[in-house]
């Protein structure tokens, strides 16, 4: 009996501990979904009590946040994303880039809240003006959301950072074309062509884009003028020269190969062999 006593005591203690643990786990799962993030203090206060270890506290909260946001069952998942990644982690360690883009990714991709995601990336860029990666990511988020003009602005800011890759100028130009501003895109591609930091490949791409965009811009201009002529005169112009006579275009443009644009008065369509070469 004496030898059995410690074993029984041990078993009893283990059972009690296990039972208590199971009870705590049940309470935890019942509490899930409560607004526990409300109790996460602002980074300013955490920084004060971190006693010189603010970056470590930022790491620990970031690691915890990754686990927290990996749980897709939480009801208020997206409510405090900026608080966790912006007010807390960024306050503790403003140069820590990962939380900015991860928080923005959660907001834009999962919560479909582009503006909130961009705000986080803007905060990151304000704290780290030498990090072109943050406006670059913001540009792509805008692109995914179909907001090409905003994307252009972000790529412009990214390209303006000293030491940013020259390829950002190409993204800026490409996005300007996607936004529908063909003349603006032409100017930006010209800047890529003239960029002394650009390589041969970049120049070749720029030349192809300038050629294609020139045709697109001219065709768009001529088509708009034909439509205006038809509205004013009640019939389509007999030739493109009628557009010049009517004062709708100052002069007839030539395609990049130096040939005039072809016009079919029956259908009102303008075309160019140069655009067919490009396949556009």
């Amino acid at each position: 009996m004496r030898r059995l006593a410690p074993i029984l005591a041990l078993l009893f203690a283990c059972t009690c501990t296990w039972g208590a643990r199971a009870g705590l786990v049940r309470m935890d799962s019942a509490r899930k979904g409560e607004k526990e993030l409300l109790y996460l203090p602002n980074g300013k206060y955490l920084k004060a009590i971190s006693l010189g270890h603010a970056p470590l506290v930022a790491d620990l909260i970031y690691l915890w946040a990754i686990q927290y946001y990996s749980d897709y069952e939480r009801a208020d998942r997206y409510r405090y994303v900026e608080h966790v990644f912006g007010d807390v982690v960024a306050e503790l360690d403003p140069r820590y880039l990962d939380p900015y883009w991860l928080g923005a990714l959660i907001l834009t991709v999962e919560a479909h809240e582009l503006d909130r995601g961009l705000k986080l990336l803007d905060e990151g860029f304000a704290n780290n003006p030498q990090q072109w990666i943050l406006p670059y990511l913001a540009g792509w988020e805008c692109d995914h959301a179909g907001q090409y003009e905003r994307a252009v602005g972000y790529f412009e800011r990214a390209a303006a950072v000293p030491g940013a890759p020259a390829a950002l100028l190409r993204l800026e130009a490409g996005m300007t074309a996607r936004s529908g501003d063909l003349r603006g895109a032409l100017k930006r591609w010209q800047a890529v062509l003239d960029n002394p930091r650009g390589d041969e490949e970049a120049r070749a791409i720029a030349q192809r884009q300038i050629r294609g965009l020139t045709v697109q811009a001219d065709l768009a201009q001529l088509t708009a003028a034909i439509e205006a002529f038809a509205r004013r005169e009640g019939h389509r112009p007999r030739s493109l020269h009628d557009l010049v006579s009517a004062g709708l275009v100052p002069e007839l443009p030539l395609d990049p190969d130096g040939n005039p644009y072809a016009y079919d008065p029956a259908t009102g369509e303008v075309s160019s062999p140069a655009s067919r070469v490009l396949g556009s």
Binding site: A48, L51, G52, H53, A54, P55, L56, A58, D59, Y62, L63, I66, Q67, D93, R95, Y96, L97, D98, W101, L102
Partner: protein, 254 residues
Amino acid sequence: MRAVVAIALNTFREAIRDRILYLILAFAIGLIALARFVSLLTVGSEVKIIKDLGLSAISIFGLLATTFVGVSLLFKEIERRTVLTMLAQPVRRWQFVAGKYAGLLLVLGSLVSVTGLALLAAVALKGESPVSLVPAILMIMVELALIAAFAVLFSAFTNPILAAVGTVATYVAGHLSWSFDLLEKRVDSASGKLLCRALHVVLPNLDRLDVKAAAVHGVPLAPGYLPLATAYGLGYASVVVVLACVVFERREFV
């Protein structure tokens, strides 16, 4: 000088026989090793977690070692009466205090070197150059030298428990000294402002010695910052050690 060196080496030998020091060392290295696994949980830069955790481990366990070893440095000698034997030799009291402090610095230097090398190796194993961390590790050593000076000062006139409380309180106050500057702007009374100003100036500003974040992010420090911060830390520590010598000179061993 010879007496100071002899006491320092003796203090060092005595301290490294203490098991608690090895426990602290094992925990610090264990934490640095653990950082490699903790970093796997992150999304993004793993090496940043290793650097932060490693530097904080060196700093926190260094503070623990300073407190455990430093606070009983003089008190133990007085309690055991060995100080009387020592002072019966041709050794001045200030030499005894300076020797004890130098011995403590040797212990801390060894601890920081071993844990620092472990961190540099952990970062290098991740394929990143650990060179940028060296200034941060050196500044942690300067900070510990300053805290050690306070531990020796408290040890010169009080028991280890109070000395430990005083040492840790100095560390906390040193990292919160900026708050007195903030408080000064909020307080209305002139005497309150003066007190806040005095505390802000007199208390050691340990944030000035903290370059961990800059080292981890590879941000270059202002030219001359490191020598100035080192001069501030070591200068402050020297003042505190001189104070400890003065206190020890005035003590009566009955």
